[in-house]
């Protein structure tokens, strides 16, 4: 369904600029950003909706993926930075760094970056998850620890000594793989890639949740202890899912950065992660497409409202959150299901966390 809509957008891109169907590259850019959010929401829904792991730190994985990409884009600037230093990014030059710190090594290779986009969030999630799930941290304890994690990372990345540009983060990217980021074609291609990645991720997630492992995961959500007594190592299922989800989030971040042109520690802020949860909840937890719809609807509302009613949009957005919770316990997809009762497994006992 979503993929369809996206195809339409693509086709329209090829229409004449003045035609009714024309979609400006501004909108394409915006849509690309929404789809990154959608991918992020999908990742969170996988762990929260299906496994009951309420991560309040998924923004961290997103940001890590983003930073990995940002580092690459930074290196792509080369000597076109303000100081014209061919090796060092500007912020290092003016803080008198002599040479690239070790963790920047390799950041000029695109393949290395792809690896980092996957490894950085993946390893963090694996280490964090392996520790937490094996020692059976769960429920709010886990949620708050993920929050502490992203909060700590935020503070760390704010520090200029970290070598990631401090508060200002990284901006002023010029090109990616030699293609100028300013050009509409590059943007369109990025958008198409985002669509494809999202579609692929959706497919994989769908396969996971409908596989036997998906059933185990759902069972873990509702009665983790019982799952153990049946012989499943619930911790490793959770670690797997958490890591996979983090990698998805990282990829979303990597796609996001070239499209918005900035990455900075603000992405680590706990509020951002809570927003992801909000998207999923608004859309409908425990349904993959719900998460996607939620992310797009909320982001779109934000874009429009901050433009239309700059001083009162928080009332509207806050009100939306309250109303959706009160009136649509299953989120927006509840509305859709209600209208078009599609054949779908009902997940009644969703209150378990």
């Amino acid at each position: 369904m979503l993929v369809m809509a996206v195809y339409v957008v693509l086709a329209n891109q090829l229409f004449s600029p003045e035609s009714f169907f024309y979609v400006s590259s501004y909108s394409v850019n915006l849509l690309g950003k929404y789809l990154c959010y959608a991918l992020l929401a999908l990742a969170l829904d996988l762990v929260w909706g299906y496994c009951g792991i309420l991560s309040l730190g998924h923004g961290a994985f997103f940001a890590l993926g983003g930073y990995a990409m940002g580092m690459y884009l930074m290196r792509q600037i080369g000597d076109r930075g303000v100081y014209g230093n061919p090796d060092l990014p500007d912020f290092m030059v003016f803080l008198n760094w002599e040479s690239l710190p070790w963790f920047w090594v390799g950041s000029d290779s695109f393949f290395w970056v792809i690896a980092m986009v996957i490894l950085a969030p993946g390893i963090l999630a694996y280490v964090f998850g392996a520790m937490a799930f094996r020692s059976r941290v769960s429920g709010v304890y886990l949620s708050i620890m993920t929050q502490a994690m992203t909060y700590a990372l935020m503070l760390a990345f704010f520090r200029n000594e970290m070598g990631f540009g401090g508060n200002n983060g990284m901006t002023d990217f010029k090109d990616i793989l030699g293609f100028s980021l300013q050009s509409d074609t590059t943007r369109l291609v990025l958008f198409i890639i985002t669509v494809c990645v999202l579609a692929a991720a959706y497919y994989v997630c769908d396969r996971i949740v409908s596989s036997k492992a998906g059933k185990v995961i759902t069972a873990i959500r509702d009665a983790e202890n019982r799952v153990r007594f049946v012989g499943y190592n619930s911790a490793s299922y959770k670690v797997f899912l958490f890591t996979f989800s983090a990698v998805l989030a990282g990829i979303a971040g990597a796609l996001y950065v070239p499209q918005v042109g900035i990455i900075n520690p603000g992405e680590f802020s706990p509020i951002n992660s809570i927003e992801i949860v909000i998207w999923v909840a608004i859309g409908g937890r425990g349904t993959l497409y719900g998460a996607i719809i939620g992310a797009i609807v909320v982001s779109f509302a934000k874009t429009r409202l901050t433009g239309i009613m700059p001083e009162a949009w928080l009332f509207a957005l806050g009100g939306l959150f309250v109303l959706v919770t009160l009136l649509l316990p299953k989120g927006l997809v509840g509305l859709i299901d209600h209208r078009f009762p599609v054949k779908r497994k009902v997940n009644k006992q969703e209150s378990a966390s």
Binding site: M131, V137, V140, V277, L317
Partner: protein, 533 residues
Amino acid sequence: MFKPVLALFFVIIHLSIFQPAYAQDVVFDDIVKALPKASFRTLPATLDKAATLDDERVATLFARLLEGDVYFHPKNQQVMYVTKIQGERVWIDTLTEQNIAQPSGVRLRKVRVNNRVRSHIRQLLAQRNLSHRDVTVRLQASQSLLADVDSISTKVISSRLEQEKNADIIDVLTTITALKQLQNDDETAQLGALETLRGSLYPEVRVALLSLQRNSEVTDTVKANVDAALAGIEAKRKWFGWAETAFFGISMGSVLLLAAIGLSITFGVMGVINMAHGEMIMLGAYTTYVIQQAFPNLIEYSLLMAVPAAFLVSGLMGVLIERSVIQFLKGRPLETLLATFGISLILQQLVRTVFSPLNRQVASPEWMSGSWQINPVFSVTFNRLYIIIFSLAVFFSLLLFLKKSSLGLHVRAVAQNRDMARALSVKSNWVDAATFGLGSGIAGVAGVVLSQLTNVGPNLGQAYIIDSFLVVVFGGVANLWGTLVSAMTLGVLNKFLEPVTGPVLATIIVLVGLVLFIQKRPMGLFPQKGRAE
């Protein structure tokens, strides 16, 4: 600090109004005449001259200058004091010290003083005040002389010492004498002085000793004695340094406690993931602001009024939220996160709309300001001290209330099994509303306290929400004692780390430590025990 000084000058003003003019008037006149033309550089010299006069009006002039109350007429150069007496603006001529009419048609120019001039005046006043009849004024005067022992002669000090009864002042004065003696090149005098100064904690003493240590001209005996004295001082300083850090930690802990304690009820006991908790704190802080606006003359009592008021405001808001939203989310704890997040956005924006996005100014009452100087290197700020006491008081009254009232039991029963509790005749609706109100009300009270420490603005709540959740969870959800211990632990840990690592790293280390700690105790410091079912 200079309150008593000031009070005295009011007395002087009144006394001097009817007094006949002195013979030296000419001189005082000259000084006053010089004021409009004086610059920051020339002013001190002029004032030095004034200080030598035996004229009561000099003291008034000095006090007024300190307050920044001295103006002059741009045309006729008349110098006058513009001040408020009992809320009324008055104009007083400097020479006659009589009230005059408000000069019309001109904007008065100010006799500007800067920090340097002010501290110069204070130094001059100190010398005058050494024989003041008020003990506190005398003590203060003598203490400010410590910073600049050269400005006073040994003779004056020793004659003062003969008359002085107060032990503290005697201590300061002997220290001053000893410091003066140290400057002698005479070995015996120096040794004698060192004897007196041993163990003294005044920073000036340490500075003097340090410079003596560097001085190559002193004899070896003196040097050895200086070393010993310094070592003793350093040891003491270190000890008090620890005490100070501990105090800082506890005080930070009590702020955390206060911020978190309401949440430990709404979230810990009731299970509502209350993202609007911070905004309840914020409402409490704004209540303080409103109270201060409503009763501008009662600033001293404003906090006492604000505590119940904030409890009511936030509490009622809590009840409202519970009745209008949360009650419909029973059994869906995760959804409360979404709804309360929405509410928190609305409340923030509401405050921005009503009170503007700017921070609001909340004054600190006099009794909350300043510090209790236990010794020259260790003092305890009053506001922190009261806050520690207050937060513990809130904590224990809450504990007692939950223990003694049936509400405590009912909340927990409802939280665990709503239907069953209702089947036992518990009015769950009422209990929910009351509990949420209670938790929110306490958050409001925390807001009153925070208004004394930090900004009162729309973002106030956001700044505390994460810490609050951390504290509650670290302590073990639904365990009030856990909240206490966890708040204190986090506070103290942070403050002991900070000097070593700097505040940024300290926070990061504490957070990482927390994440690791939870691995050892997956249910917080004080987990709920029992068969997991």
